[in-house]
């Protein structure tokens, strides 16, 4: 009886960043047995905020916490020969290594895919980097804004006459992590039949690029290049201010233009000058003025369910705390509570999607630094107490 869809898959997560950590967390969420392996100083993500009550302690990074749920944790210094030998001893017993170091770094330590696959041909190594393992930019450094820029999305984000605009947060890193988890789960299924692993080369820039369907294909189909939207013109499809925030409305869906006029209580919308899409584009600013005036004293929370009655494509700009209290997410059991050894009880975003037979389970909090060293090295690899102490003294763990 398997409880998780990926139960029995053994994963070492060597990543220190957002993308790799998220990838390995997703594998853990759906049943894989994941061990986070960090340098003795801790993964870089432990030094990234937000922190629990703003205390920058390595076991209090909320970013680290949320991306390392369901994992065990050990420390291992891969820059020592002993550390490298320990990883090689583990290699035959594991199915997946997730890593996000600069291309060539692990190989320079004798821990590249080829070396490890020689010890275990079924091993899959998932490498997530800004530009991929090979190619003229592969050694270049990535950052969130650079991935967006080179992945085309900034060329159509923001408005004309101003600089292109990046997405908020770390969407590119999360995308890299999710796409890598997808490539990994498919490789794992494939290896059920071939017994062979893969080195999976994920480029975060290409993850972003691959979402640019209309932007990429326009050029080879027509010679055209897409651009950011004009600064003026109708706000349909963009956030519009109302009494207590912003809403967003898209034409189409199940609602007619007449429905929209009724919803906004704006008979002027039915005038000839707004009769079709072309006229609405020309008279966009006037249309915006009328619509925004009509919702000036209406609440987004009143408008949202009402729009659904009209079968409108409608959204409201929610803030993080509104999302934390969202009844829809509550009904989907999206947030769960977990006991963290340092932070105590915390509510965490947990379940990405539902599986009917092997449901998501939150079984453990993120590991504190070196939390499971004894279990891994003494119980698992059978180092004796003296050797274990020596590993610690030599800064191997």
């Amino acid at each position: 009886m398997l409880h998780g869809a990926l139960e029995g898959v053994k994963v070492l997560d060597l990543s220190e960043d957002i993308a790799g950590s998220f990838c390995a967390r997703l594998l853990a969420d759906y049943g894989a047995d994941v061990l986070k392996v960090e340098p003795p100083a801790g993964a870089a993500l432990r030094r990234m905020g937000p922190f629990f009550h703003d205390d920058p302690h390595p076991d209090k990074s909320l970013f680290y916490l949320v991306l390392n749920l369901n994992k065990k944790g050990a420390t291992l210094n891969l820059e020592t020969v002993t550390g490298q030998n320990i990883l090689k001893r583990l290699a035959p017993h594991i199915d997946v290594i997730v890593e996000s170091y600069r291309p060539g770094y692990l190989a320079s330590l004798g821990l590249g895919y080829e070396e490890l696959a020689a010890l275990n041909p079924a091993l899959t190594m998932t490498s997530i980097t800004p530009f991929g393992q090979e190619g003229p930019y592969s050694q270049y450094r990535g950052e969130e804004i650079v991935n967006y820029a080179m992945g085309m999305i900034m060329s159509i984000s923001g408005v004309q006459g101003r600089e292109p605009l990046k997405h908020g947060g770390f969407q590119a890193q999360y995308e890299g992590g999710l796409f890598a988890a997808a490539a990994t789960s498919m490789a794992l299924f494939g290896s059920e039949f071939t017994g062979q692993g893969e080195h999976i080369d994920v480029s975060i820039t290409e993850c972003i690029a691959s979402t640019m369907m209309a932007t990429q294909t326009m050029y080879p189909f027509t010679g055209g290049t897409q651009v950011r939207r004009r600064a003026s013109g109708s706000m349909f499809g963009h956030p519009m201010p109302c009494e207590d925030g912003w809403i967003i409305v898209q034409t189409g869906g199940g609602a007619s233009w007449e429905d929209l006029a009724e919803f906004f209580q704006c008979p002027e919308m039915l005038e000839e000058r707004f009769a079709d899409r072309a006229q609405r584009a020309v008279n966009g600013e006037e249309l915006d003025r009328i619509v925004i005036e009509s919702i000036k004293e209406r609440s987004k929370w009143e408008l949202f369910p009402k729009a659904a009655e009209y079968r409108m494509l409608f959204g409201l700009v929610q803030t993080p705390s509104e999302l934390v209290d969202c009844p829809q997410l509550e009904s989907r059991n999206f947030f769960r509570e977990i006991e963290h050894p340092v932070m105590g009880k915390v509510k965490v975003p947990a379940e990405l999607f539902k599986l009917s037979e092997t449901p998501y389970r939150l079984e453990r909090s993120a590991p504190t630094l070196g939390q499971d060293n004894r279990e891994i090295y003494v119980d698992g690899l059978e180092f004796d107490e003296q050797q274990y102490t020596r590993l610690r003294q030599l800064n191997v763990i």
Binding site: E134, A149, M152, P164, E175, Q318, E357
Partner: protein, 451 residues
């Protein structure tokens, strides 16, 4: 040829628009037999209205519904079966297809599959180990928004993305593309790989229930934690970074050309000052450490913009990266077709359409990942509407000629959509003048080597 992971897997892909159709296209790359199912009067919107992308040479022409760029990118390598699911006979044929398939994918609003008795409990009666992949705006279940209409543009606001995106001096903004759709695309592929492995080991199928809203919210996890623990609401940062400075997007040489860069340490800042020939700034107290650089970020932006504005964006990238600082140009839909890195990685694949399609050869994006032992490629363009009707119904389901003809006569199946119009196309030069297009190359086919 190495064995592809999804060899021998048959997928009924009854999905529309972007999210799951694109998943289906990627599953075809991975070796699955993916059968796209559309209704006679319900061709996918990527064939018709505003979601179609571009027509070849901007001309709709004959059988225009088989030509759009977005349709062919998303639905590459699939087969097509047109079946009227609104009719009981159509649904019966669908059930027969389910009996010989491994996976069903659908993105109807929650009530539709229930009403048709094609929800998971019913599908399981037909094929006990079937895997069903559902994608909806807000997810199945009894939540207050489960029945709400949804699509990516409006969800971007609702799932919190707009709150954190936008210029510093302006309100919340939408990102350029239909962003949240792709979180469902890749969630579906991830979940399906895991579910197939599970089925292989236990003989059991399952139901994968994906909600775009939930995926979008997940991608703001650190904001949710900061809100619930520290009571902080986050917000818009423009192009800036919470821990690095300066970071931004600056003008480069040429019309609407831009370069991004991100400085993460004092050493990187000193190196940038050297590149700009402004060594004196490196020791200026106003910019000496990260906190002072954040405080005086506006002033820094002006200094950097003045330096970048006279140099080509690619030259700037090589120069700045050469000094160890993350940097890259804002690349357009044209740029990636001529970029040596994209070219080296083979990200764009040349797809040759059969001659009768009147599309010629085009470049389409492959995959953002590679397998070392199992090379993959796009198998072919998206199928013509109803291209595999005969193969599916006569060969796979063994329908006789008379029955098949009757279905054709009553438009339960067809190869010509009974509704839908091609999206209106504007002459590109005019679109550039109006600011609807950034640029236009009349000789793009020559430049791409496609003629």
């Amino acid at each position: 040829m190495p064995r592809l992971p999804l060899e021998g897997i048959r997928i009924l892909d009854s999905t529309y628009v972007f999210a799951l159709p694109y998943a289906g296209g990627h599953l075809a790359d991975l070796g699955a037999e993916v059968i796209k199912i559309e209704g006679p009067g319900r061709p996918d919107v990527t064939r018709t209205g505003g979601y179609a992308g571009s027509f070849p040479e901007n001309q709709a022409g004959e059988e225009w519904w088989n030509k759009p760029s977005t349709y062919n990118l998303l639905n590459r390598g699939k087969k097509s079966l047109v079946l009227d699911m609104g009719d009981e006979r159509g649904r019966d044929l669908f059930r027969e297809m389910v009996a010989v398939s491994d996976v069903v994918m659908e993105n109807f609003t929650p009530r539709v599959m229930r009403r048709w008795e094609l929800d998971y409990p019913n599908l399981r009666k037909i094929k006990p180990d079937i895997i069903l992949v559902s994608n909806t705006g807000y997810g199945h279940g009894d939540g207050p928004y489960s029945g709400y209409p949804a699509q990516a543009t409006t969800q971007e606001a609702t799932h919190g993305h707009c709150w954190v995106t936008g210029y510093l001096d302006d309100g919340p903004a939408k990102a350029g593309a239909s962003f949240v759709d792709f979180l469902s695309t890749w969630s579906a592929i991830f979940a399906l790989g895991a579910a197939l492995r599970y089925r292989n080991r236990t003989g059991k199928g399952q139901w994968i229930d994906i909600a775009m809203y939930q995926a979008g919210v997940m991608f703001l996890s650190e904001y949710l934690m900061d809100a619930s623990i520290n009571g902080r609401e986050g917000g818009r940062m423009g192009n800036r970074h919470p821990y690095r400075a300066p970071q931004g997007c600056y003008p480069a040489l040429g019309k609407d050309q831009w370069i991004t860069l991100s400085v993460g340490s004092d050493e990187e800042w000193q190196a940038l000052c050297g590149l700009m020939g402004r060594e004196e700034l490196a020791t200026d107290k106003q910019f000496a450490d990260i906190l002072s650089r954040r405080r005086n970020h506006d002033e820094l932006d002006e200094i950097i913009a003045e330096w970048t504005a006279t140099t080509d964006k690619f030259d700037l990238m090589h120069l700045i990266q050469g000094a160890g600082i993350p940097s890259g140009p804002v690349m357009t839909g044209r740029d990636i077709h001529f970029d040596p890195h994209y070219k080296h990685r083979g990200f764009l694949e040349r797809v040759d359409f059969p001659e009768e399609r009147g599309v010629g050869s085009r470049f389409l994006m492959g995959r953002p990942y590679k397998y070392s032992n199992t090379p993959m490629s796009i198998k072919g363009p998206g199928p013509k509407f109803g291209q595999n009707n005969e193969e599916m119904l006569k060969e796979l389901l063994a329908l006789d000629e008379t029955t098949y003809q009757a279905l054709l006569d009553e438009t339960i199946i067809t190869t010509t959509p009974t509704s839908g119009e091609p999206s209106p196309q504007m002459e590109p030069k005019r679109a550039v003048e109006l600011g609807l297009l950034g640029d236009y190359d009349p000789d793009y086919l020559q430049k791409l080597g496609l003629v």
